[in-house]
């Protein structure tokens, strides 16, 4: 009898559907109406019981009566509820007529909750779904490793520098940069002996131009715009004489508080030269040592 069942399962002995927490006891039985472990909500301890469950978007009313207690296979009777909310409520009332109030009320509440979450599911599926693609660890690791190796093999800085120098040679930059040596080589290729004297004259002319430009530039710098900085840097760099560059830079730094813009640009450029020289020196030493030994 149900009272005995409840006195065993509910209070004293073990019920596998029961989950205890600090404040409450829950019932994990799939036919449970409220989800709590109570005398009135336990599907095992009540011989007359009903629930509402949904399957694939349709709601069903499940009923259990004493008459069928001996036939576990036919124990739960299932009734399909209509899709219309009000009609379904009426159907629940019809089927559970003369049943205890508690069960009827809880069934309707549960049915309401279920329809609400079904509506929400339908709304969400219309919006954009985020597709979760699982990462495969092995593949991720492999790709990361290959990327690192590709990066090393790429030698990006060298490649970019080469490409830029190629473009300089191909004259894509036109007249912006004029390197006298470059012009010298080009002239050599076209004509032979006459070109040498011509290019010397050009160089001298260019030196004069640069001097004049320096004087002019000192006036212009006072305007303090970034663009002019870069342009001036350009014109600076194109002169082949290093002494001239250094003089001009010293002057500029004295006259110009904004030299910070130049220093970092020069930084990596400057750093590159001493590095290269040092390497050459080290390489020759061990050779000499072994030869001596």
């Amino acid at each position: 009898s149900p009272q005995v069942v409840w006195s065993m399962l509910g209070n004293r002995q073990f019920c596998s559907y029961k989950m205890t927490t600090k404040t409450q006891n829950f019932c994990r039985n799939e036919y449970n109406l409220t989800g709590l472990c109570n005398r009135s909500s336990c599907p095992l301890a009540n011989s007359q019981y009903a629930t509402v469950r949904e399957e694939k978007g349709r709601c069903y009313l499940y009923m259990k009566t004493i008459e069928r207690a001996a036939f576990p296979r036919r124990l739960w009777e299932r009734v399909l509820l209509s899709k219309n909310y009000e009609k379904a409520l009426e159907e629940i009332d019809e089927n559970l007529i003369y049943w205890p109030r508690f069960i009827r009320h809880k069934c309707k509440q549960r049915f309401t909750k279920i329809t609400q979450y079904l509506i929400r599911i339908r709304k969400l599926t219309l919006k954009r779904q985020r597709k979760l693609v699982p990462l495969r660890r092995k593949i991720e690791r492999r790709e990361n490793r290959r990327e690192e190796k590709a990066l090393i093999a790429a030698q990006l800085d060298n490649a970019i520098e080469k490409e830029l120098l190629e473009r300089l040679k191909q004259d894509t930059y036109g007249d912006i940069y004029n390197f006298p040596i470059h012009a010298f080589d080009k002239a050599l290729q076209q004509q032979d002996a006459e070109s040498e004297s011509e290019s010397d004259a050009e160089r001298e002319e260019e030196e004069d131009d640069d001097d004049e430009d320096v004087d002019k530039r000192e006036f212009v710098e006072a305007e303090d715009s970034e663009l002019s900085d870069f342009e001036d840097m350009d014109k600076l760099e194109t002169s082949s004489e290093e002494e001239q560059e250094e003089e001009e830079e010293v002057e500029k730094k004295a006259s110009h508080s904004r030299s910070k813009g130049k220093a970092p640009l020069k930084g990596p450029a400057r750093r590159k030269r001493p590095y290269i020289e040092i390497e050459y020196e080290e390489e020759t030493e061990p050779n000499t040592k072994t030869k001596a030994a």
Partner: protein, 324 residues
């Protein structure tokens, strides 16, 4: 067992090994059961190997010098690029068919200078700080680009609006766990859509020795190593992001370098120190891309016609085969 010769080592530091260590022929270092001793013997064996290798090298070098001019040329070391499996879709620069294709594909209006690129950059839903900052930096790097906040809008609805407002390209940066990890690049008026996996994203502040901020000048574009037909189309996609006429005054260059199917993006400022030397300084964000799929029309994941999809099981099997 093991130790056929030489002093038996007592502990970690031991007397220096003799010049020639004779091991009985059937001896192997791995047979010694004692770990310390085994380790020691292994180190000695290693030293010996190194010495032999050095001696061999010296001998070869001496022979080489002795022969002088008659020496055989140095052997070229094998690299993965050398050993790459020949791809039949490699583009020949003189290929007419490819030239014709390129004159009539979706980028033709760009390359004929009929359209000016205008780019929309957006993210996936609810982007985190890093992604937002990355988008902003990307917008400074690509001229004529706008960042828009994605408010849960569907791409299929965004695209017609973009086309109506004259955008030529759409970039969507996908985010996962607070880092950007995917990029969808779609050429708008009906153009191809490429989906990339993005990795090692570095924002400007994480780059060492960076310069000032990129200016508004139109940068130059360098596309390296896009050799196959597929690589060509991807390269053109990237080129179509930037306006045709770079402003050389700005001295900025954006590089897309393809190496073994990884596309490295870098943004530099360069300066010619002499006609044979150029200095570059990295500004701007950097990231690497790996192509996952190329789709013919605009973004449509369900019904799109895919030109190329990366399939792990088939395409990752050979280490010498690359597709871009």
């Amino acid at each position: 067992a093991g130790d056929g010769s030489g002093p038996v080592p007592g502990g970690g530091t031991s007397p220096p090994a003799p010049e020639r260590v004779l091991f009985p022929p059937t001896f192997s270092v791995s047979e010694i059961k004692n770990k310390q001793r085994r380790h020691f013997m292994f180190l000695r064996w290693k030293q010996q190997q190194r010495k032999e290798k050095l001696a061999l090298k010296k001998k070869r070098r001496k022979e080489r010098e002795a022969l002088g001019d008659k020496a055989p040329p140095k052997a070229i070391p094998k690299t993965i690029e050398n050993q790459r499996v020949y791809d039949e879709t490699t583009v020949d620069p003189n290929d007419e068919e490819v030239a014709f294709d390129e004159a009539t594909d979706e980028f033709a209006p760009y390359f004929n200078r009929q359209t000016v690129p205008k780019i929309l950059i957006t993210t996936s839903d609810r982007p985190r700080g890093r992604t937002v900052r990355f988008c902003e930096q990307l917008a400074t790097v690509i001229p004529n680009s706008h960042v828009y906040y994605r408010r849960g809008l569907a791409l299929k609805r965004i695209i017609p609006q973009c086309i109506a407002r004259d955008f030529t390209d759409l970039i969507v940066i996908n985010e996962d766990r607070k880092i950007p990890n995917g990029l969808v690049l779609s050429h708008l008026p009906d153009g191809p859509t490429a989906h990339f996996r993005m990795s090692s994203v570095r924002l400007r502040k994480e780059i060492k020795r960076k310069g000032k901020e990129p200016t508004e000048h139109v940068p130059e574009v360098i596309l390296n190593n896009f050799s196959t037909r597929l690589g060509h189309s991807i390269g053109r996609m990237f080129a179509a992001l930037f306006p045709h006429d770079p402003q050389f005054i700005g001295r900025q260059v954006a590089t897309f370098h393809n190496q073994r199917d990884y596309i490295f993006f870098r943004f530099h400022r360069y300066i010619f120190k002499s006609e044979k030397k150029v200095g570059i300084q990295e500004l701007g964000p950097r990231f690497t891309l790996k192509l996952r799929s190329l789709q013919k029309g605009t973004f449509d994941s369900k019904f799109g016609e895919y030109e190329w999809i990366h399939k792990h099981r088939e395409m990752d099997t050979s280490r010498r085969k690359f597709h871009l």
